[in-house]
C-alpha cells in the first residue's frame, strides 16, 4: 500500500499508470551494475520514480576525471567509494525507497549472489567481459538485462528478455578492443535515460520494449535509430533457452 507521502510524491505519474502501477514500482528490485556515467542517471531516475529497492554495485573510488558525467559524484567526494557517494545522494533524493550499495568487483564469484533475486539488471558497466558475465547470469536466471554503452557523442542500448529476444552475445559475439574512451556527460545521460525508461516500462508492463532492437544514438547528428537484431539459434548463452522454459523459471 502506498502511504499518503508516496501518493503525494508520485501524484503526477500516478496520473499515468495509477496507484497499481506505482505499487509495482514500489515492490520492484533492480540491480544497477556500475555507479559511473550510465549508473548515475539510471539510479537517479529510478529512485525518483519510486522503484522500491535499488542495489548499486561498484568497486571504484571517485576521481576528478569522473565528474564531467557521473552526476551523483561531486568535487567533495573525490577519493571516496562511488557506492557511498551515490547512496548518500540517492537517499537524499528519495528517502521513501531502499538503497543498498555494494562495493565489490563484479566477477564470476561475486555476481551470481548479487543479481539472482533481482527483477531487472541494468548494465551500466564500462567493459564487455563484465557485460558478458551479466548477460550470462541474466540468461541463466531468466532476468531481463537492460544494456547501454557509450563513446564520445555515440551510444547504444537494447533490452534483453532471456528466451524471447536476442541476448548480448547474439548481438555482439565479439567484444570491441578495450580503450580509455572519450565521452561527454550528455551521452551518458541520453543512454541512461533510455535504459531507465526501459526498466520502468518493463516493471509497469506498458509500452514497447527495445527487445530485438538495437537503439543507436548519434549525438552529433541528433539522430536516433533502431536496427533489428535477432536471436542466434547457436548462441552459446541463450541458444538453448526456449520461451516456455524461461516462463517456468520466472
Amino acid at each position: 500500500m502506498l502511504n499518503e507521502n508516496e501518493k503525494e510524491r508520485y501524484h503526477r505519474q500516478i496520473m499515468l499508470f495509477g496507484e497499481a502501477g506505482q505499487e509495482k514500482l514500489k515492490t520492484a528490485r533492480v540491480v544497477i551494475a556500475g555507479a559511473g556515467g550510465l549508473g548515475c542517471p539510471v539510479a537517479t531516475y529510478l529512485a525518483v520514480a519510486g522503484v522500491g529497492y535499488l542495489r548499486i554495485i561498484d568497486h571504484d573510488t571517485v576521481e576528478r576525471t569522473n565528474l564531467n558525467r557521473q552526476i551523483l559524484h561531486w568535487e567533495k567526494d573525490i577519493g571516496l567509494p562511488k557506492t557511498g557517494s551515490a547512496g548518500e545522494k540517492l537517499m537524499a533524493i528519495n528517502p521513501d525507497i531502499e538503497i543498498e550499495t555494494v562495493r565489490i568487483t563484479i566477477d564470476e564469484e561475486t555476481a551470481p549472489g548479487l543479481v539472482r533475486d533481482a527483477d531487472a539488471i541494468v548494465d551500466a558497466m564500462d567493459n564487455y567481459p563484465a557485460r558478458y558475465l551479466l548477460n550470462h547470469l541474466a540468461c541463466k536466471f531468466g532476468i531481463p538485462l537492460f544494456h547501454g554503452a557509450i563513446r564520445g557523442f555515440d551510444g547504444q542500448a537494447t533490452t534483453i528478455i532471456p528466451g524471447k529476444t536476442a541476448c548480448l552475445s547474439c548481438i555482439f559475439p565479439k567484444a570491441p578492443p578495450k580503450e580509455i574512451f572519450p565521452v561527454i556527460g550528455v551521452t551518458s545521460g541520453m543512454i541512461g535515460m533510455i535504459q531507465a525508461n526501459e526498466v520502468l516500462k518493463y516493471i509497469l508492463g506498458t509500452g514497447k520494449l527495445l527487445g530485438n532492437r538495437l537503439l543507436i544514438w548519434d549525438g552529433l547528428g541528433s539522430s536516433l535509430e533502431t536496427i533489428q537484431v535477432e536471436r542466434d539459434p547457436y548462441c552459446t548463452e541463450c541458444g538453448h533457452i526456449k520461451g516456455s522454459q524461461m516462463e517456468k523459471l520466472k
Binding site: 551510444g155 574512451f181 536496427i227
Partner: protein, 92 residues
C-alpha cells in the same frame, strides 16, 4: 552497380555517415570495405585486423539484416544494397 555504405559511431567520424559507391556486379562485402579503406588509413585500422580480415567485433548488416559467418566477407552485394558497418561502443 551502386551500393550505399552507412557508417555508425567511430566509423562515421572517419568516413562520414553515408557513402554511395560504384562497384562491379558481384562485388563482395570484403572488397567493398577494402576499397573504402584505400582512401583512409584510419578506417583500415579501425575496421580490419592485422591479418586484413574485418575485425571480429564489427557488426555488418546488409539492408538492415545482420550478416554473420562466411557472409561477413564473402557475401555478395547487389545494386541498391545498403551495407551498414557498426563498431559497438564499450564505455559506461
Amino acid at each position: 552497380m551502386k551500393v550505399r555504405i552507412k557508417a555508425f559511431a567511430r566509423f562515421r567520424e572517419i568516413i562520414g555517415s553515408e557513402n554511395t559507391l560504384e562497384f562491379d556486379d558481384g562485388t563482395s562485402v570484403l572488397s567493398a570495405l577494402k576499397s573504402l579503406s584505400e582512401g583512409s588509413k584510419d578506417f583500415r585500422d579501425a575496421c580490419f585486423d592485422k591479418e586484413g580480415a574485418v575485425a571480429s567485433h564489427v557488426v555488418l548488416m546488409i539492408n538492415g539484416k545482420r550478416i554473420s559467418g562466411r557472409d561477413r566477407e564473402a557475401g555478395v552485394l547487389h545494386d541498391g544494397d545498403e551495407l551498414a558497418v557498426f563498431p559497438p561502443v564499450a564505455g559506461g
